[in-house]
Amino acid sequence: MTSFSGKKLTCVRSGRIVFTSLNFMISQGEVLYLKGPNGSGKSTLLRLMAGILRPSNGALTWNNNDIHDDEGLFRSRVHYVGHQDAIKAGLTVEENIRFWVEMNYCMKEKYSIQTALKVFSLDNLSTLPARFLSAGQRKRLNLARLSATYAPLWLLDEPTNSLDSDSVRILSRAISDHQQNGGMVAIATHEDLDLKDNVLNLSEFTNLRAPPQGYNAW
């Protein structure tokens, strides 16, 4: 049974403690909701989980192995969807997604760009240059990467932003499919996706009044 967990995570950004002593655990087939007010560190935690950021303290483990022991292997297990859509206006819809599929091709054997575009109902736009896409279509194109190649861990940062209700339904179906196939998801969202599972409330870890020992005002 695979699991992805973080222990005693502390993150300091620009001299400010974002969260401290944060623990989480995601097992196969689980969805972890990140809740908390603005500035509580949801995006930071997701970037930390992806390995883009390093924690100031604590460790992230995959089946009890530190993810920084083999970063290449860990990267191949992650799909990260951030605030920005990573779309080049000069390339067509299909060229955009094909590039990211090729970039992840090393470990992820089976993929289908057409199916992925169909899942997120972009198949009739595939030859359109991406500069003509609306904000919602761009978001869907970015999300289509999730279905194009397989990665067990999905990290989604506000994926429902600028999506209409139909697209939100498509996304929640994709997430529950992924869950049933034994995938793991960590998601920060304000939308109700009716997939209640584990909830991690980040405001519990922003311990402002008493900074941890050793950090004494520095």
């Binding site: 990267r75 990260y80 990573a86 080049k88 390339l91 990211w100 090729e102 091709y105 470990m107």
Partner: protein
């Protein structure tokens, strides 16, 4: 798995070249900038053939330096702005190799056109015929080094205020050795001295930069994404 990293490497190059072709005006702009700077020098110094041929190599190199420097901020800035950088960091190919692929495509779209057009400029500047072949060899060895060194600066300025001016302050001092050896190779050929030593130095600089620069740029990109 074997062979796959090479495919990924090639697909980075293909994407960069595709983007360069789709935004073809960018490359043309760099070449026209190169031309205009040389012509400005010409007008500033005056058309006296003796002086021009004496300083021709210096003018061409300084103009090439400035053109490469100007084109540098487009290397990582778009990826940083649209979030592609995060995904490049998370992709299966080591970031150092992605950086190398991007630098190579950058050189193909900026440094290479400069090399092609440089004989024409040498003609404008009344350079002696023995200088032509050496100028070409020196540019072939020198412009990739400019792109490699410039990539470090381009990665460091991501997210900074007034990044364009900042970039020039950071990387122009680092370009000095490349220019010195490039100019002295051509000058040697024009004065019938062996141009081999400065060319060998340019080659050595290229090899050193090839090893160190992708590594430093990747480190700079990682900290920019943090």
């Amino acid at each position: 798995m074997p062979g796959k990293p090479l495919q990924v490497f090639i697909s980075v190059i293909r994407r960069e070249l595709l983007l360069a072709i789709r935004h073809g005006a960018d490359s043309c702009m760099i070449v026209s900038f190169f031309l205009i700077v040389v012509i400005l020098f010409l007008l500033g110094v005056g058309p006296e053939p003796g002086i021009l041929s004496r300083i021709s190599a210096g003018i061409i190199w300084v103009s090439a330096l400035l053109s490469v420097m100007l084109s540098m901020d487009r290397l990582f800035q778009p990826d940083y702005e649209d979030g592609s950088l995060d995904l490049l960091i998370l992709s299966s190919l080591p970031l150092e190799l992605i950086v190398l692929a991007k630098i190579f495509s950058h050189w193909l779209t900026t440094g290479f056109p400069l090399i092609i057009i440089s004989p024409l400029l040498a003609l404008f500047l009344n350079m002696g015929t023995p200088g032509y072949s050496t100028l070409l060899i020196a540019l072939v060895l020198g412009t990739p080094t400019l792109s490699l060194v410039g990539a470090i600066g381009a990665a460091l300025i991501l997210g900074a205020r007034r990044s364009g001016v900042l970039l020039s302050v950071l990387i122009l001092p680092l370009f000095i050795p490349i220019m010195i050896f490039g100019v002295s190779a051509v000058d040697a050929a024009l004065t019938n001295v062996s141009s081999k030593p400065p060319l060998l130095m340019l080659g050595a600089l290229l090899l050193t930069a090839l090893v160190l620069c992708p590594w430093a740029s990747a480190a700079a990109l990682r900290q920019a994404a943090e």
